[in-house]
Structure formats: C-alpha cells, structure tokens
C-alpha cells in the first residue's frame, strides 16, 4: 500500500491495550453475559481494529474484503453443518456413546 495517510498507530495500539484490560477484568466479575461481551465481543472489536488500521483493509481493494469474508463464511458453514451433531450426544436414531462416556466420567466426584 503506497502513498496513503497513516492513522495514529500508537493511539490504535493504546486502544487495543485498553480493550485487552477490559477482556481480562470483565470475566473476573463472574457474570456470564458480561464474560461473553468482554471476552468475545471485545475480541471481535480488537480484530476489527487490527484489520482496519494495521492491515489497512479500509483502503484495500474491496474484493480483498470479499475474499476474506467468503473464507469466514465457509467457517460458519462448517460450524452450522457439524455443530448440531457434535454439540449433542444423542438424536432420534443415534447416540454418541464415546462422548457420553467421557462427559459422564468427568462429572463423577473424585474420591
């Protein structure tokens, strides 16, 4: 990327560090919704800031963004296709014995 205006990179870095502090402190409060927002929501914001300001995606050719977004969509497709079977251990005519056994064993009290 040649000859373009540069954002204040140190300021972007400072925001990223502040968001890192939020993502560490937020989950310490032990509130599940707050943990999801501060850990994972903030991670999305941090990734966006890096991609936009450090990777200069906002001034890159639009189709690069489409290329990367397509790859992310494939990831979501994988998740949508496989997650229903992986996250559940039994269905109408099937049962994942190995996963159930592992989960059951782990939930037994340790003597």
């Amino acid at each position: 990327m040649t000859e373009h205006a540069h954002p204040n990179y140190v300021k972007v870095w400072a925001i990223l560090v502040a968001l890192l502090v939020v993502s560490v402190v937020g989950p310490m409060l032990g509130i599940k919704v707050l943990t999801l927002i501060t850990a994972f929501g903030v991670a999305v914001v941090k990734a966006y800031l890096v991609a936009r300001n450090f990777m200069h995606l906002h001034i890159e050719k639009r189709w690069v963004v489409y290329l990367l977004t397509t790859c992310l969509a494939f990831m979501l497709l994988l998740f949508a296709g496989a997650a229903p079977d992986v996250m559940k251990h039994e269905g109408q005519r099937w049962e994942n014995h190995a996963a159930k056994r592992v989960t059951h064993q782990a939930q037994q009290p340790v003597h």
Partner: protein, 189 residues
Amino acid sequence: MKPIATTRSATGIPTGRLAIWWVIASEIVIFGGLLASYIMHRLGHPEWADQAAHTNTWAGAFNTLVLLTSSLSAVLAHQAAEEKNGPKAARLLLFTCLGGLIFLCVKGFEWTHEIQAGFTLTAGGFWHFYYTAAGLHGLHVIAGMVTMLIIAADARKGQELQRVELVGLYWHFVDVVWIFLFPLLYIAR
C-alpha cells in the same frame, strides 16, 4: 524492486501483496476450521471448563500484549519502508521479532508447567485442542520471525522494501488469530 512483485497488477493489487492476501485467506480456513471445531466441542463438553481452569490467564494476557505491541512495530516498519528508510524499517522488524521471541518464551514457560502438572496432549479433549491450536499458532510465529529476519537483512541495505509491508500483513493476521485464541483458551471457563 522485483518487477513482478511490485508492478504486475491484473487485479489492481501488486502481485506480491495479492499473494499474501491469498495466504491469509487460506489461513482463515485453517484456523477458522480449528476454532469452529473447538467451539462446537467445547459447547458439547461442559467438563472441559474444569480442564480450561488450569491455563494461566495472566501469561495469556501478557502474550496478547506482546503480540499487539509487535504488531505496532510491524506497521511502523511498513511506514518507515514507505518513507524509504530501510535501516529504520529493519530495526522495527527486529523489534517485532523480539516480540515473537518473548511470546515463544512465555509459551515455553507455560507448557513446561502444564506438562509437569500432568496436563499433556493426551490429558483430555480440551488439552488436545489447546496444544494443537497454540502449537499451530506458535509455528506461524516462528515462520513469521524467520521471514522477518531475512527481510530485515535486505531492508537494512535499502533493498526489497515492499516486502516489509507483506510480512507485516502476515504478522498482523497471526496477531488476529491470537486475539481469538486468548479468550477461547484462557478466559472461557
């Protein structure tokens, strides 16, 4: 400057940068698939929370700070390269490499303690993913460092300065992957 890497531009993007975007696109599928698999297994195995509780959040947070800082130096190296200041770009790339080295040392410290405590690759489902994801990421850090050292050697002499941006793009992507690995492996319990 290599003519093919800097001037050929069928897509409106110099070929060298285009190649890096394709690398990053393929890496999204690799890491994306791994992380998607981890998330679906994690949601299906509530007992993994007990295993995840043994990771060291502070070490993970420190490593995040290190990678964010190394990304800053990588983008400042790119800026210096645009200003045709090769020696400054080389120094900043070496600083970025130092960040990678610190990251790997902290990882080594963590893994040593975890393995000594019995949390090996085969200690449970969470640990399979933990070592695979963090290990694959660590290999990418090493690859980035080696590439950066080679590019810094040229940049110091004012040669191939366009490559400073390319290795920077790769390094920022490695940083982005860690931004997601950190909450998944160290915070979600």
